[in-house]
C-alpha cells in the first residue's frame, strides 16, 4: 500500500528579483577541483578526502549540480576518497545543446572520463534518479572498475511511468497547470516557476522549504535551452536495459521512497528485482531526493552497503 505524503500548502515564493545568494558555507571543501575532457566536452569534478574504496557520486539530470550531494560528501570524505561531478549542462561543466551529449551512453562515457582524469582504478558509484542508467552501463561495460552500485530513486525504463508527467514537451499548450509546466515554451517564459513546481513535486515531504530553495538555486545554474536539449537524449529500451541488469555482477543497493512523484517507486522495485542479489531499501513517506531530505538515514544505508563490500571475499 502506497501512502500519499501530505501535500505542501501553497507558500509565498522567495522575494522576486533577488539575486541568487552566494553559496552557503560548506561543511567541507574539495581537496582538488578539475575538468575532465571528453570529445571536446568539459566535465567539472571535485575530489575530497582519502581512503578506500573511492566513492563517486554520479549526477542525476542536469537540472541540479553536485551540491545535491552536500549532505553526503562531508560525511563520506571522513573515511573515503570522494569524487563528485557535474553532468554536462550544469555546475562547473559546459552547457552543450546537442541532445547526443546527454544520451545515457554519453553520460556513462563522461563517468569513465572522470574516473580516468582522477586516476581512479575503481569506485563505488552512488547515483540519484537519472544517474542509474549511466551507472549501470558503466558497471556492465567495465565490471572491473565498478565495485558496487547504490541507486537512489532510480529513474529507469522499468516500472510505471507516472502518466501525469507525460505532456508534449515542445508543443504550445493552452494550460500551465501542473506538469504542463514541463514544456519548453513555459520554461522560456518562466523557468524559475517550473523549477519551483518540479522541486515542490520532488520534495513533497512536509517542511521541505530549504531543500526546495537549494534545488531551485541549482536549477538556476542552467538554462531552458540547455536543459531542453537533455529531454531528447536517448537511452536503452526496456528490453535491452533489463538484459543488461540481469548480467550485472557487482553488489547493488536500491533506495526508493514510496511517495516519489518524479520516478515511481515501482521502478526501484523492478530494478532491484532485475539486478542479481540487489538489496532494496524502501523508504515510507519519502519523495524523490531522500539523500537531501533524510540524509542521516541514507548516509547510514550507504555506509552499511560499503561495509558489506569489505566483508566480501
Amino acid at each position: 500500500m502506497v501512502r500519499a505524503a501530505p501535500r505542501t500548502v501553497s507558500t509565498p515564493p522567495p522575494a522576486a528579483g533577488k539575486a541568487v545568494r552566494p553559496e552557503q558555507t560548506r561543511a567541507r571543501y574539495p581537496d582538488l577541483e578539475g575538468i575532465a575532457e571528453r570529445d571536446g566536452g568539459r566535465i567539472g569534478y571535485e575530489v575530497y578526502g582519502r581512503g578506500d574504496p573511492t566513492i563517486m557520486f554520479v549526477p542525476p539530470w542536469s537540472i541540479v549540480h553536485s551540491r545535491i550531494w552536500k549532505a553526503q560528501i562531508p560525511d563520506f570524505a571522513r573515511r573515503h576518497r570522494v569524487i563528485a561531478w557535474d553532468a554536462r549542462g550544469n555546475g562547473r561543466s559546459d552547457r552543450p545543446r546537442e541532445p547526443e551529449a546527454h544520451n545515457d551512453e554519453a553520460l556513462a562515457a563522461d563517468l569513465l572520463a572522470v574516473l580516468d582524469a582522477t586516476h581512479t582504478d575503481s569506485a563505488v558509484l552512488v547515483g540519484l534518479s537519472g544517474a542509474a542508467v549511466p551507472a549501470i552501463i558503466a558497471a556492465s561495460e567495465h565490471p572491473e572498475r565498478i565495485l558496487g552500485l547504490v541507486l537512489v530513486s532510480p529513474s529507469v525504463p522499468l516500472g510505471r511511468r507516472r502518466t501525469e508527467r507525460v505532456v508534449p514537451f515542445d508543443e504550445v499548450l493552452d494550460t500551465e497547470e501542473g506538469w504542463a509546466k514541463h514544456n519548453i515554451h513555459f520554461w522560456r517564459r518562466d523557468f524559475t516557476s517550473y523549477l519551483e513546481f518540479f522541486f515542490g513535486e520532488a520534495f513533497n515531504e512536509p517542511h521541505s522549504t530549504k531543500s526546495i530553495e537549494d534545488a531551485v538555486g541549482y536549477g538556476q545554474s542552467t538554462d531552458p535551452e540547455t536543459l531542453g536539449s537533455t529531454i531528447y537524449g536517448t537511452g536503452p529500451g526496456a528490453d535491452a536495459f533489463l538484459a543488461m541488469c540481469r548480467l550485472l555482477r557487482c553488489p547493488a543497493l536500491v533506495i526508493h521512497g514510496d511517495c516519489d512523484h518524479i520516478s515511481d517507486v515501482s521502478r526501484g522495485i523492478e530494478l532491484s528485482a532485475a539486478i542479481p542479489g540487489a538489496r532494496l531499501e524502501l523508504l515510507h513517506g519519502s519523495g524523490h531526493c531522500p539523500n537531501a531530505r533524510d540524509p542521516v538515514r541514507v548516509n547510514l544505508l550507504i555506509r552499511e552497503f560499503i561495509r558489506s563490500l569489505r566483508a566480501l571475499p
Binding site: P74, P206, H207
Partner: protein, 419 residues
Amino acid sequence: MEAGRARLPDRTWTRALARRRRALYLSSPIGLGHAQRDVSIADELRRIHPDLEIDWLAQHPVTTVLEARGERVHAMSAELASESAHITAESSEHDLNAFQAIRRMDEILVANFMVFHDVVETGAYDLVIGDEAWDVDHHLHENPDLKRTAFAWMTDFVGWLPMPSGGEREAFLTADYNAEMIEHVERFPRIRDRAIFVGEPDDIVPDDFGPGLPSIRDWTERHFAFSGYVTGFDPTPLIERREELRRELGYQSDERVVIVTVGGSGVGEALLRRVIDAYPDAARRVNGLRMIAVAGPRIDPALLKAPNGVEVRAYVPELYKHLAACDLAVVQGGLTTTMELAAARRPFLYFPLRNHFEQTRHVRHRLERYGAGRHMDYATSDPEVIAEAIAAEIDRPVDWRPVESDGAARAAALIAPLI
C-alpha cells in the same frame, strides 16, 4: 600464541554495573556564552554524581574555555565542521539574520550529526546534554531510532521569529520551522528526556509560533522545565569586592572605565569602530574616561585605529571580572554578556545585531523584564548619540531586579536524575 605478547582486543565491553556514569556534553559554539554556563552546570552535576565522567564534543571557541579548565574534549571534536566560521560568513556590518544563518547551516548540521552519531555509537554514554545543539536535537527527532542515551536539551529561547525585512516569506518560513519543531516534540516525547529553558516563564516572548500555532509561552510551559538564568559564575562576591577587584585589574578609583566587547565572532567589528569613534566626544562629557575595546579572536586589533585614551586588547582573560569592575559596558545584544552585566549590576548599552531575531526580540524582552541595560539602535546611533548615552548611563543607579544565581544548580538538579 606466545605468552606475554601484546595484543589489542578487537572489541571491549564493560559490564553494566562495572561502568562509570558517562555523559557527553555538547555546547553551542555560536556566541561565547554557552561554554561558561555549561561548565558551571557540569560542575554542579559532578557535585551530585562524583563519579560522573564528562566528555565534550565541542569546537572553537568553546574548546578554548574547556581546554583552559582541563575538561576532556573528545578527539572526534576535530572532525566537526565549524559553526562559528559559518555564522561569521553569514554576517555583514552589525547585521546577522540569525534565522536564515541557522537555516543555511543545514549541511554543517548534518555533517556534525554524523560525527555525533559515531561518538555515541562507541562511547557507552548514559546521557547526552545538548545546549542548543541543533544538529543533535533536530536529527534525533528525524531519526528517533538512533537515540542511544538519555537526552537533556537546553535552550534560552524557544521559537523562530520573523524579522520585518524578511517580509511574508520569512514569516511563513519561521512558522513552518516552528510547526516542524512542535510536531517533532509532540510526536516523539521520548527524544528529550528533559527539556530545560534557561530562564523563567516570564522570560518567554509573548508571541505565537505563527498563524494557527500555539502561544510560545503556553507551549513552552507545557514542554519545558525552568532552571532560571545560568550566569556561569556567582556574581555576589564580585559585587561585594568590586573596589578590590578594580585595584587588582589596575583600574584607578578616579577612572571611569568603559569596556567595549563584541563577542567572539567577527560580526562586531563595525560596532567596535563606532564606539571607539565616540570616545573623544564621550571623554569630553565624562571626566577620567578610560575605554578598553576587546577585539576578540576574529578581529585584528592592529586594524582598529584607537585614539589616546582607548586601549585595544585582543583577548581579556576572565572578561567577566572586568565587566563586573567597570563603570559601563558597551556590548552587542547577545544574551550571555548582557545578562552577565545585569547580574554583576553594571550599567550597559546594548546594540542588537540587525535582523537577529534572538537579540532584537527574545533577549530584549528578557532584559526589559529585569529592567537592566539601555537598548540602542545601531542604525540611528552615530558616535555623538553613543557618547551621549555613555554619559547618561554611566551614573545610572543600579535599581533593577537581581539576577538569580542558582541557575546552574537548578539545571543540574533537573538533569541529574537521568543518570
